[in-house]
């Protein structure tokens, strides 16, 4: 069977790959959006923190004997703590300045962290085994669906939607949104805004690390895994609109799928299609598809 002259097997295969990539785009751009919204900082260290999540999973397994499911919980918390230290010691001094300073500082940290890991572990990648519970797959009739990939898509979507719900629909989320608009007033109501900012950065970093753990069994554990991905994720964030929560989720998954289909219909463009879309969006809607012009 074919659609537009393409075998359905290939089409669904690329749709799956697109959704997988989209899940990582969504988790990472969501974290960037949450951080940017409250901290006013474009967190270029995000890719390195994603990589640290994967390495944390690797260390937990090889040093502590803690497997995938433990890593899913412990690695994001551990990496979030390093993020919190970074925020307390350095980032908090930059909030009054232009975005550019935060971007430069976090970019510098990304290079340092990646350099240290590459120095220690090389750049060939370390294997990380898939959890036994999620090995194998099922035949859906029109395609073969590996269990682990289905898990990554469903779990990422659940994490993204939970984050959206907390931010848009709960009391805690209303503190976050209000502090994004006017932190001084929110603090004058009795809320400890500096602590909230620190924890928000930790949460965004934790999301990146969680994506890293999810990625480890698929892409291996590699010091440069985040450097490659983060450029695309920034394009996703620009397209969705910096600071928009739902925008990050929808754009992340959507662009993953667009990229996947491009591989089927015009493979030559599959590495650039997201950047073409970014250019068009910047020309027509500079604030992004879901962003509010300020």
């Amino acid at each position: 069977m074919t659609i537009f002259g393409v075998p359905t097997q290939a089409l669904f295969g690329q749709l799956l790959i697109g959704l997988i990539n989209g899940a990582f785009y969504a988790l990472l751009s969501l974290g960037l959006s949450v951080i940017f919204g409250l901290l006013n900082i474009i967190n270029f260290t995000h890719g390195a923190q994603y990589m640290m999540g994967a390495f944390a999973a690797y260390f937990l397994l090889n040093w502590a004997g803690l497997g995938y499911w433990w890593a899913l919980l412990v690695a994001p918390i551990a990496v979030a703590i390093t993020g919190i230290v970074l925020e307390r010691l350095t980032l908090k001094r930059l909030y009054q300045l232009d975005h550019l300073y935060g971007l430069l500082l976090t970019f510098g940290f990304a290079l340092i962290i990646q350099g240290l890991f590459r120095h220690q572990y090389g750049s060939s990648g370390l294997p990380y085994a898939m959890p036994a519970e999620l090995a194998g797959g099922r035949n859906l009739g029109f395609m073969f669906l590996p269990n682990y990939r289905a898990w990554v898509i469903v779990f990422s979507l659940a994490v993204c939607l939970t984050t959206w719900y907390v931010i848009e629909r709960t009391r805690l989320g209303s503190y976050l949104r209000a502090a994004t608009e006017n932190p001084a007033l929110v603090q004058a109501f009795g809320i400890n805004v500096p602590r909230m900012i620190t924890l928000t950065y930790g949460f965004g970093v934790g999301l990146a690390a969680l994506a890293g753990v999810l990625a480890a069994p698929i892409y291996q554990v590699n010091p440069l895994m985040g450097a490659d991905l983060i450029i695309v994720v920034f394009a996703v964030v620009v397209i969705g609109g910096l600071g928009s929560i739902m925008g990050s989720i929808v754009t992340g998954f959507g662009l993953g799928v667009v990229e996947g289909f491009t591989k089927v219909f015009y493979p030559e463009a599959s590495n650039t299609v997201i950047f073409v879309i970014m250019a068009v969006v910047l020309l027509l809607r500079p604030a992004g598809l879901f962003g509010r012009a300020s």
Partner: protein, 234 residues
């Protein structure tokens, strides 16, 4: 005489390099409504913000029921029972009316109940799901005042609550302030409009160039009209 609810002594404040308050002195007793009058730039808003801890650098003494506030961050000051309603109202666009209303956390028991506040401002109740900044200016002001009545704070700092509002809304806010006085709230009110201030306040402090230069009890306001016109340049 009991200890004043709020006692401000020799308060200095700076915005960056600019020295704005040059030793402000005044005090408020529990249950009083007191205004700060003065021309634009006299330091009224800065005084409120300094009491609340929102101004970058301040020096001197601000005591709430004997407890020193200088040096505390604003979130801790709020927890001691002070609440601030800023001149620009500070309604959050990304929050609904209800979220705005419920935003300030309860700092102690004894705040007005939600229903009592809706009774004061019936317009709000009909618009709970609307975006905060879709309200009219008057409704936003009611929301800004209403949300701090919930929290249990007994000392309210209100910065020009009548600014730019239609006379009928100004009357409603005046009635609200008199009601708050009956309920035992202590209010520090910044006003440009002393005719309005005269309808709600017990005493008036006049500010000039970052200092309090005079105090006029409301009962003596008429007798001091010439002086007041001179202070305010009206």
């Amino acid at each position: 005489m009991p200890e004043p609810s709020l006692a401000v002594r020799d308060l200095h404040a700076w915005y960056g390099e600019s020295h704005v308050l040059h030793g402000v002195d005044f005090e408020i007793r529990a249950g009083e409504t007191v205004t700060l009058l003065g021309r634009n730039g006299a330091g009224k808003t800065t005084t409120l913000k300094s009491v609340m801890g929102i101004v970058g650098r301040r020096r001197g003494s601000v005591r709430l029921e004997g407890r020193e506030l200088i040096g505390l961050p604003s979130n801790q000051i709020a927890r001691l029972g002070l609440a601030f309603c800023p001149e620009e109202r500070g309604i959050f666009a990304s929050l609904t009316v209800e979220e705005n209303f419920l935003l300030p956390p309860t700092v102690r028991a004894g705040g007005l109940g939600v229903e009592a506040i809706y009774e004061l401002f019936p317009n709000l109740k009909e618009r709970l799901r609307a975006g905060g900044t879709t309200l009219s200016g008057g409704e936003q002001q009611m929301l800004a005042i209403g949300r701090i009545l919930r929290t249990g704070a007994r000392l309210l700092l209100l910065d020009e609550p009548t600014e730019g509002l239609a006379p009928v809304i100004v009357q409603q806010i005046g009635a609200t302030l008199r009601r708050l006085k009956q309920e035992g709230f202590t209010v520090l009110l910044v006003e440009q409009n002393f005719r309005f201030a005269a309808t709600v306040a017990d005493r008036h402090y006049v500010m000039e160039h970052g200092r309090v230069v005079d105090m006029i009890p409301n009962a003596e306001l008429e007798a001091n009209m010439t002086k007041l016109h001179d202070y305010l340049g009206v």
